[in-house]
């Protein structure tokens, strides 16, 4: 059922949070997740054996939700399934802002669970109380300090929202996007069985949230496909919506059914949904974090023609295949570019056709600057991708300062800031995984978008380009 945005603002930005039913057997994980809450955090637990452990954490415990000094904005419920309706009835009485139900064993499990799910859905709907789950990890709002997991950050927020039918993917999306591309989330929600609030409710809410620039979603199924279709038709043309659909194969759909009780529609219909609405199809965690980053960091993309720079001949063949397979082009550069390149480029052991196999021509940072400058001005290409080597070539480059005293990475970062074309780097690890991670971190901190492989760069650029150039009019 749709809730108005004011109702959802209260639960999504909670000032008072209550965890019901946390226990020692799970190391009080929910209270630990919520220790970062900026407002007030309370516990409700009736088991006398559990209470000392809760108080040791510095959290005040009550034996009834009705005793908690209100108003309560968000309640995370982690009690056994039979107790959930009792807790929910207290939530209604206390007029709490909204509820997330971690407890599982509902429609995804058996007939008794199906009955319980129907009961709690009716209770929440009758009371007009937003209910998230059951079988979910609830809300994440780093600014409010509300988290799904202790692995997540808190405090600073970012321009992305995520809607996940899996708690794992929801947590990993936030942590991976931050680790790989340095982008934080504004909010996320793990919504599990969608007994009351379904994916369309969250898309609508994030669509009107000015803090959110990109919406990502992991979906296994929806109770109301028509509404999702109509919601995406309204939203996806105006704000990027990335959809990662779980259960694409028959076996995967069976797994989705036992995970969240989701009914399967054929993948062909989901593909149609995305084509028709302009939602972007992504097929993995890597694709969704990379495409989110490409949309946010590259700005508006205009075309499929890339100028690509590689360190060696073999790489220049493979990068061309990789980008071509995504329907991107690697055309010849303009005569003007070739005129400038031919004045200094040593073609022995290299080539400047496109891709540029730069070989020894990239040994000095000054030469790298010059090359990138020419490619940025080239009239035949729309974007610029640069391979950065790890290993001895990478280290040598780091030592070489250019005429302005900048290291290679500083020069690349300055170039990225001022470049006319969308620009990104690709750092393939080969044998030096740790070093590659460090180089990508250096680039990230300097504001350069960097992908861990050619393929990830090509896919992210392709999908971001589709968003900018191939979506229905909004």
């Amino acid at each position: 059922m749709p809730f108005d945005s004011k109702t959802l603002d209260r639960v999504f930005n909670p000032k008072t949070v209550v965890v019901v039913g946390d226990k020692k057997a799970t190391q009080y994980s929910w209270l630990r997740n919520m220790k970062t809450v900026q407002g007030r955090l309370f516990s409700v637990q009736v088991d006398q054996n559990e209470i000392p452990g809760i108080e040791e954490l510095g959290v005040t415990n009550y034996t009834s939700l009705l005793d908690v000094p209100g108003p309560v904005d968000y309640v995370l419920v982690a009690v056994p399934r039979k107790v959930v309706p009792i807790v929910l009835s207290d939530c209604v009485k206390a007029k709490v802002g909204g509820v997330g139900i971690f407890t599982s064993g509902f429609a995804e499990t058996d007939d008794e669970g199906k009955g319980l799910q129907q009961l709690i859905a009716k209770m929440a709907t009758d009371a007009q109380m937003p209910l998230i789950g059951p079988n979910c990890m609830g809300l994440f709002n780093p600014k409010a300090g509300v988290r799904h997991s202790v692995d997540q950050y808190h405090g600073e927020s970012g321009p992305v929202a995520f809607i996940g039918q899996s708690g794992t993917h929801t947590i990993f999306f936030s942590t991976t996007l931050e680790a790989v591309h340095g982008i934080k989330l504004a909010k996320s929600v793990s919504f599990g069985n969608a007994a009351v609030m379904d994916v369309s409710d969250f898309i609508e809410y994030f669509a009107q949230d000015p803090e959110v620039k990109v919406i990502g979603a992991y979906i296994e199924g929806t109770k109301n496909g028509r509404r999702l279709f109509e919601t995406l038709r309204k939203v996806a043309a105006r704000k990027p919506v990335l959809i990662w659909k779980g259960g694409q194969t028959d076996a995967g759909a069976r797994a989705a059914n036992s995970h969240t009780g989701s009914m399967a529609s054929s993948q062909a219909v989901w593909d149609a949904l995305m084509r028709q609405t302009g939602a972007i199809r992504v097929d993995s965690l890597d694709e969704i974090v990379d495409t989110t980053a490409a949309i946010l960091k590259l700005g508006e993309l205009r075309g499929p023609r890339g100028a690509l720079v590689c360190m060696t001949g073999g790489e220049s063949v493979v990068i061309t295949d990789t980008f071509s397979k995504q329907g991107l082009q690697v055309p010849l550069l303009s005569d003007k570019s070739y005129g400038e390149l031919s004045s200094f480029f040593n073609v022995i052991g290299g080539s400047y056709k496109n891709p540029l196999d730069v070989s020894w021509n990239f040994q000095s940072t000054d030469m790298a600057n010059r090359l990138l400058g020419i490619l940025d001005e080239d009239a035949n290409t729309d974007f610029l991708g640069l391979e950065i080597f790890v290993g001895s070539m990478g280290r040598r480059r780091e030592r070489d300062k250019d005429s302005q005293g900048r290291s290679f990475f500083d020069a690349v970062a300055d170039f990225a800031k001022g470049s006319r074309k969308p620009f990104f780097a690709m750092v393939t690890a080969t044998s030096a995984e740790k070093e590659a991670v460090e180089i990508r971190q250096v680039l990230r901190e300097k504001g350069v978008l960097a992908f861990p492989s050619f393929q990830r760069g090509a896919i992210a650029y392709r999908k971001a380009l589709d968003y900018w150039t191939d979506r229905p009019a909004g």
Partner: protein
């Protein structure tokens, strides 16, 4: 007869499957080009209709109790004159009686022999979550073996119809392959949009197929059509 009246007749006869003549009539009234197909209740009417639409013609049994018309000998093609229609009519009636003596027979469908065109299929089925979905593909082996079809959720926009036709791998066939005439893609797109509007306005339709549609250089024609209704309780 408007679609509501066709449905009313079927409901009265407790049928969920419309006859070919009914289905084509419904689609024609919706604005989709179908091969001229009319119901003849007796032999004389069959001969009169054949004269009107022009020889050669096709005769097909029209009976809600006969699903696989060709298998029982209920279809006769290439009938060149009045005598041929007469013989074919008798043979079809005899074959039908032999297949099912109790079959409720509406008569025969008299249909113009359609000139062969590029075969395509267009249909609608209902997805449990997304409702009516259209399917488009090349006809014959390509749809059956290669499953080279495209889907779109109803209602479709012109952008959707254009992309749907171009999405199938066999699209170059429609563009004119090895000197063959190209297919009238604009009319196919129009038929897709018309069908989208038709099924959106008629939730009582459960399934619909036009298989095949012949696509020509100028124009298209649905050669066979099938419409299944929802159970009355469900619609």
């Amino acid at each position: 007869m408007p679609f509501d009246a066709i449905v009313a007749v079927a409901r009265k006869e407790k049928r969920l499957m419309l006859t070919e003549v009914e289905a084509k009539q419904a689609l024609k009234e919706a604005g989709i080009d179908v091969v001229d197909t009319r119901l003849a209740k007796d032999k004389a009417e069959a001969q009169r209709i054949a004269r009107e639409i022009g020889y050669p013609v096709v005769l097909k049994i029209v009976s809600p109790d006969i699903i696989h018309k060709s298998d029982i000998g209920g279809v006769k093609v290439g009938l060149a004159d009045e005598a041929a229609v007469s013989t074919a009519f008798d043979e079809i009636m005899a074959a039908t009686k032999k297949a099912n003596a109790k079959a409720n027979v509406h008569g025969v469908a008299v249909q113009a022999m359609a000139k062969q065109g590029t075969e395509v299929i267009l249909g609608m089925s209902k997805d449990p979550q997304f409702g009516p979905v259209l399917m488009f593909g090349l006809g014959g082996v390509l749809v059956e073996v290669l499953k080279d079809v495209a889907f779109r959720i109803v209602p479709l926009t012109p952008r959707d119809a254009g992309q749907m036709v171009r999405e199938i791998k066999g699209y170059p066939v429609l563009e004119g392959y090895r000197g063959q005439d190209p297919a009238d893609v604009a009319r196919l797109e129009q038929a897709i949009l018309t069908l989208s509007e038709f099924v959106e306005g008629h939730p009582e339709i459960k399934e619909l197929d036009m298989n095949p549609i012949f696509a020509y250089k100028d124009g298209i024609a649905a050669v066979d059509a099938r419409i299944v209704l929802e159970d009355e309780a469900a619609s």
